[in-house]
Symmetry: C2
Subunit: 427 residues, 2 copies
């Protein structure tokens, strides 16, 4: 088969009727598969079981500073966890706070804090300002957009390019409008595009002139060590870049071990300038007496050091790479020559971003759902759940076993062809 | 020795000079003791070490609904944790949310939510209202007051009586002023008084007419199972009382296992009407994908059921009761007949509340600190850190070993006598 957009109507009709038959076959199988979220699979979770193997001797529960992790205290985490994860994020231990299990919560709290108290000494709380807007490079992460929407922040879509957000658009927006207070970024193996920002993009983000003096970059480095290949992407250090540009307090960096150890029992972290960290700690010490320090110690003893993290992540990659390859190979063989879709080939992260022809994403996802396979809702990767071109579908290959993944992707390829051909027939 | 207030100046001078000598002895010992916080001692922490003994078999990590606790999900906690702690708080599992390790964080977030979004569908966010005031029965918990102060909530002191807050004052305040939106309560073995609210107080709180339609009770049931005797106090169920009174959504209940298992690695919870819980869950599901469910499972497997919790708390009491007795016996023997101080004898909780003569608390705490023993700062038990009568000192007997506790209390009794006699000599 060749380029579908070059076929005439009767040729398309013929293909459509054979695809419809194929689809009916899927429907008759009563499938019930979930491809909607970027969840690790059981085999990945099993990699960290040794972390739970404790020998319960009381003496084992001291930090190197002599503090009993079982008791109250240490609002920003235990020293050894700060040291290890500061290395992972390429900052100093003074620039990091270790939280509980959710980096999303830390982002939520950082926005909530900015709303109620402003971003720094003497800055005006965002809720007291007439309007707050965020730049949302899209497609992006639906849970980011849900937070800003909840706080009534107006979200402005900026396109993702091959090396990060469209920086011409970003620079124009931040320079013109004082209400633009922030930007959401997943700078490495982005969700869903799998893109890693280029050094130029990082430098432009760090250095751009913003009309707002309280502008902040929300740098969700969720996939910082989540490589799929032996030649991982390299991301420039945003905090250093901000320092160099004289905008020391511009970036909040977030990460977690949710996809290193356990999504349900990992630890999260936030890094920033010492200024920002010290302000965050001031509020944090009113909110809590400390995070779960036992879980921090557990993590440090299990992962040990950066070499330990790297070795552990290679085990994840060994499980995930075949799944990504299966999806990519299937798409190539089913759709490669048909000129109706494009997709990325990420070097890491959790997603493959699939772009159908404009106007075809929602109908494709619905058809798949009608046949029992749930994908992330079309539009979810855009603010307000609205993909202006209705073409992006986020594929999450990590959770399903290989055989289910194969079925789900065959179905998706069938659905997208049916939907596209119907569209072409209407033209 | 007898009633100090009945002695003449030369008698007082004589006692003072012998007390001064005693104080100098303490100073020369170079003490370094901390009596400032209600932290469990190591022996208490050791009681829960078995909780950490896992056999790391993957199959062990499923909830009874079949969900893998290691993975994402279940924003309000695992079913078995909800069931167990719903029993502890005498609510239904639909009325509870299990959080991470800090109930203080859940209180902070509940106030933050009320500020930003209001307390229920269609209610006006507190931050959009001209003024928000909270009733603060005092002495009370400094960390409560720090939260309301941070959010610029005006705090109104109401006296604690023998059976709870002065309800005549509370009823007057809430009925007169629409800006009064909440009250902080530690209803059982209160911090620091050790008082348990009477049924009448609970009913009046539940039933009182409030000018504000969005008034809420913040019911910090921190010491719900933290008895020191075999005849524990009984607290009336506030949520049921609110239901009976037709004010279903009035009470937010908080608790944690911080002082059941580990302060640094427990689990916290919030209970309320199904209405309030469903609203909290709506926001929570934007803030996080779920709490640390592994730690919940760990807790449920260790504590098992209410009988397990009760048996476990008896072990805590066996460690704590001698410490409380030591403090109380020492105060009785050193100060019992002198008519210069009073204190409570709690049946549970973490504190002994000590009242010196007005104007004597700060100076007493300072003298003790100068001799190397840190008590909770005088005034800390009142909003804005200001005890209007400067008489309350919170004594936290749980952390220090018995010998240190004895030294610290002997010092405190010496200091309070010196300060009081100096005061009497000035009169």
């Amino acid at each position: 088969m060749a380029d579908l957009t070059k076929l005439n109507k009767s040729e398309l009709q013929e293909i459509l009727s054979s695809l419809n038959k194929k689809y009916e076959d899927f429907v008759s199988r009563n499938l019930k598969l979930d491809m909607s979220r970027g969840k690790p699979c059981s085999e990945q979770l099993d990699l960290s079981m040794d972390m739970l193997e404790y020998r319960a001797e009381p003496g084992e529960f001291k930090t190197k500073s002599g503090m009993d992790v079982r008791n109250y205290g240490l609002v920003d985490g235990i020293p050894e966890a700060k040291e290890l994860f500061a290395q992972m994020l390429e900052v100093s231990p003074e620039q990091i706070i270790i939280g509980n299990n959710s980096s999303l919560s830390m982002m939520f709290d950082t926005i909530s804090r900015a709303m109620n108290f402003g971003v720094g000494e003497g800055s005006v709380p965002w809720c007291k300002q007439p309007k707050v807007k965020f730049i949302c490079p899209s497609p992006g992460y639906d849970r980011h957009f849900a937070i800003t929407q909840l706080f009534n922040v107006e979200m402005i879509v900026v396109d993702m390019k091959a090396d990060g957000p469209d920086m011409d658009a970003v620079e124009r927006l931040v320079s013109e409008d004082e209400a633009v207070k922030g930007i959401w970024c997943i700078p490495k193996y982005s969700n869903p595009d799998g893109i890693t920002y280029s050094d130029e993009v990082v430098d432009r983000l760090a250095g751009m002139k913003t009309a707002a003096i309280d502008f902040r970059i929300f740098w969700d480095n969720a996939y910082v060590v989540h490589h799929l290949t032996d030649c991982p992407d390299r991301l420039k250090n945003i905090i250093e870049a901000c320092n160099t540009a004289g905008n020391e307090d511009r970036a909040y960096v977030f990460a977690s071990t949710s996809k290193i150890t356990f999504p349900g029992a990992g630890i999260a972290m936030m890094a920033s300038s010492e200024n920002n960290i010290s302000m965050a700690k001031k509020y944090l010490s009113i909110k809590t007496i400390g995070p779960d320090k036992l879980n921090e110690l557990r993590h440090v003893r299990f992962l040990k050091d950066m070499a330990g993290i790297t070795a552990h992540m290679k085990k994840h990659a060994a499980i995930l790479k075949p799944k990504f390859d299966l999806v990519l190979d299937l798409m190539e063989s089913e759709l490669g020559d048909k000129n109706i879709a494009s997709w990325n080939k990420p070097n890491g992260g959790y997603f493959i971003s699939f772009n159908a022809m404009p106007g075809c994403a929602a109908a494709t996802v619905k058809m798949a759902a009608d046949a029992g396979v749930v994908f992330t809702p079309a539009g979810a990767t855009f603010p307000y759940g609205k993909d202006p071109k209705d073409r992006n579908i986020r594929i999450a290959p990590t959770l399903p076993p290989m055989n289910e993944l194969k079925t789900a992707m065959e179905l998706l390829c069938t659905c997208v062809q049916i939907v596209t051909i119907k569209k072409l027939l209407e033209l």
